[in-house]
């Protein structure tokens, strides 16, 4: 199993940033999700985040909402998410689950951590779990040997950044902007400052997400961050493709551009 630690150590040794790709489980279809993620890995993504589809994704913009809605409509359940993780982890990429808190809460924190580890998952990103509420999840994750990734935002105070990074293992997710997920024309200038502020509090890798959609943007972010996270731009291409094969080809090409970007 590839761990986050080995991924970031290798990227650092290669003097580049890691590329992290996001896709929701069950999208574009059950089974098609693993194939799509595999296309990202083949094109150069080091880490894959598998989204756990949730009915009320309050941090997500229209593109991810659309994909998640389709996934839920297709009947995706947590067992399917874990199967997707298993399939993606088998490609050799470090595979995380990105999920809102309630599905884990309902499933049971220890059970979810254990089942995710058994599926080959290396950790989770939990965008609506605050440090104050995270203790049970961190304990369960530590017990199962998986990482916990939390978010810092441009609005975070120094005190908050410290509280968040103290809960992180694996890496820290720096939200590049104040807003929801979705590719933007330019990456917010706040991102670099946030990465710098975060580094003052931790030696963990700091990855930047929200708003990255092109190879050039990936290169720009890679100049100051340890990892570049891309989600909506891939999903947009799949949504716009005439069929799944074309979608895979399209995201493979974009991921390839970005993989080059993080190596510039």
């Amino acid at each position: 199993m590839t761990t986050l630690q080995t991924v970031f150590a290798k990227a650092k040794a290669d003097n580049r940033a890691a590329l992290v790709g996001y896709l929701p489980a069950g999208f574009p279809s059950k089974g098609g999700d693993v194939a799509a993620a595999a296309a990202l890995v083949e094109a150069g993504c080091d880490v894959i985040e598998i989204g756990l589809p949730y009915s009320d994704p309050l941090m997500d913009g229209p593109t991810i909402q659309d994909a998640v809605h389709r996934s839920l409509t297709n009947g995706t359940r947590i067992a399917d998410v874990l199967r997707t993780v298993e399939g993606v982890a088998a490609t050799g990429a470090a595979t995380l689950v990105m999920t809102y808190w309630n599905p884990i809460d309902k499933y049971g924190a220890e059970r979810f951590a254990r089942d995710l580890a058994n599926a080959g998952g290396v950790g989770t990103i939990t965008p609506d779990l605050t440090p104050e509420e995270s203790e049970p999840w961190r304990a369960a994750s530590a017990g199962a040997g998986i990482d916990t990734v939390f978010l810092v935002a441009p609005s975070s105070t120094e005190q908050r950044i410290k509280a968040v990074v103290d809960c992180c293992t694996g890496f820290v997710y720096a939200a590049s902007l104040m807003g929801v997920t979705g590719a933007r024309e330019s990456v917010n200038s706040a991102a670099e400052g946030l990465v710098q502020r975060t580094r003052a509090h931790t030696d963990l890798p700091v990855c930047v997400g929200l708003g990255v959609g092109t190879g050039a943007q990936a290169a720009e972010v890679a100049a100051y961050a340890d990892g570049v996270i891309v989600g909506s731009a891939f999903i947009r291409r799949i949504l716009d493709a005439p069929d799944e094969a074309a979608g895979r080809a399209s995201i493979g090409q974009l991921a390839g551009d970005m993989a080059q970007g993080v190596r510039r």
């Binding site: 949730y54 009915s55 009320d56 994704p57 309050l58 941090m59 913009g61 909402q65 809605h69 839920l72 359940r77 947590i78 809102y100 808190w101 309630n102 599905p103 884990i104 809460d105 309902k106 499933y107 965008p127 609506d128 779990l129 605050t130 104050e132 509420e133 939390f150 978010l151 810092v152 935002a153 441009p154 609005s155 975070s156 105070t157 908050r160 968040v164 939200a175 104040m178 807003g179 929801v180």
Partner: protein
């Protein structure tokens, strides 16, 4: 000063009422929530803020609202004496005005010029648009597309008051989805914008703030009951969607152990049909819209869409303080079907000349049943949380008028 989360007290430092409440939101919003909490903490102890709020309540909202005895209606309650707290007589016609005036003043103190709000039935949207017009704030209202259709009159009112109404077409296209969309707006525009949350749900400090601005209902009612009847009521009844009108009237009576507190949720087409909004009476503990509370959800934590003939009760979550009151047994929650609520709606109109909001009609239906249980000596106070003008479209369809 944060309390210990005990009944009637403020929540603890993490915004918890027992195990309920807290904050489950993106990190980006935490500083804004901290800021709102800090500004509110200062404001509520500031004589000038209290004076301003009180002035607006008296001279603009029309407080104190009166109590009304409804003897002809009470005949159907086995003779128990039912007394209404007339929040329908406030400016804009519902209890929502109390909270929005408080939070609009808070927005000024936050130094923000734009407010956003979610609305289901439109009462909170209209109230927010009203307060925004009064205080010169830009106003954007998120409303489920389904609700926009069934509450067209309120959409027009909001527009007339200068608000921009954005129909939300995601998910069930009702209140739940309007809240999601408002949060998305807030996380994007938090520097300039206050999210004028409309009920006692959501992340800390909203459940506490909305409760405190709504609690004037119970404070007045308790004093008025003593004046009118020489004693406290045997029971207080209120409808519960998110729970603001119910907490508003319950709060002053929580310490009065002899006063039963009854909340009425929308049983919609009936529990067995699955088309209901029985969050407290059939939901389970989970997290929705930033707070741990009772939620209508499936076995994997996906929110189940609610149903009610009343857009204002059509919500799969509920305020955390209600969850706490339920679990501790201090308040009791029941379900009232669409049909039972509409029967009470019609009965109050015909016997007393008062057309209530359909939300409030759930509490009226509950009070009728409770009166038969408690007997003719009982006195029951019902929060008539709003007037029914906005619901005429629904009533016309339901009764074939």
């Amino acid at each position: 000063m944060a309390g210990n989360g005990a009944h009637g007290d403020d929540p603890d430092v993490h915004g918890k009422f027992g195990i309920f409440g807290g904050r489950f939101v993106p990190e980006a919003l935490i500083p804004a929530l901290d800021e709102v909490a800090a500004v509110y903490e200062k404001a509520k102890n500031d004589a000038e803020f209290i004076r301003e709020f009180d002035h607006l309540l008296r001279t603009y909202a029309g407080r104190p609202t009166t109590l009304t005895d409804v003897p002809r209606f009470s005949e159907q309650a086995g003779g128990a004496r039912i007394i209404l707290k007339r929040e329908d007589l406030t400016h804009t016609g519902a209890h929502k005005i109390n909270n929005v005036l408080g939070q609009a003043l808070l927005t000024k103190r936050l130094g923000k010029k734009r407010v956003i709000a979610e609305t289901g039935a439109g009462q909170h949207g209209v109230a927010t648009a009203t307060a925004a017009a009064l205080l010169g704030l830009e106003c954007v209202i998120y409303m489920g597309a389904v609700d926009c259709e069934r509450q067209a009159l309120n959409v027009a009112r909001m527009k007339l008051l200068g608000a921009k109404v954005i129909p939300v077409t995601n998910g069930s296209q009702t209140l739940k989805d309007a809240i999601n969309e408002a949060f998305r707006d807030w996380v994007t525009n938090v520097d300039t914008t206050h999210y004028l949350f409309g009920t006692v749900a959501g992340p800390h400090p909203f459940p506490e703030i909305v409760r405190d601005f709504a609690r004037i209902i119970g404070v007045e009612a308790r004093r008025q009951m003593l004046e009118l009847t020489g004693g406290l009521p045997d029971a207080v009844c209120a409808a519960v969607g998110g729970g603001s009108n119910a907490i508003g009237i319950f709060h002053a009576f929580i310490g009065d152990e002899g006063v039963q507190l009854h909340g009425y949720e929308a049983a919609g087409r009936g529990l067995e049909t699955g088309e209901h909004a029985l969050t407290l009476t059939s939901g389970s503990v989970g997290v929705l819209h930033g707070s741990r509370t009772y939620v209508l959800q499936d076995d994997e934590g996906q929110t189940i869409e609610s149903h009610s003939i009343s857009a204002g009760l059509d919500y799969p979550g509920v305020g955390p303080e209600h969850a706490w009151l339920k679990d501790s047994g201090r308040a009791t929650y029941h379900g009232v079907t669409d049909d039972e609520a509409m029967a009470a709606f019609s009965l109050l109109a015909r016997t007393e000349g008062i057309i209530p909001a359909i939300e409030s009609s759930h509490a009226l239906a509950g009070a009728l049943e409770l009166g038969r249980e408690l007997g003719p000596e009982a006195t029951i106070l019902v929060n008539l949380s709003g007037r029914g003008d906005k619901d005429m479209g629904t009533a016309m369809k339901y009764f074939n008028l």
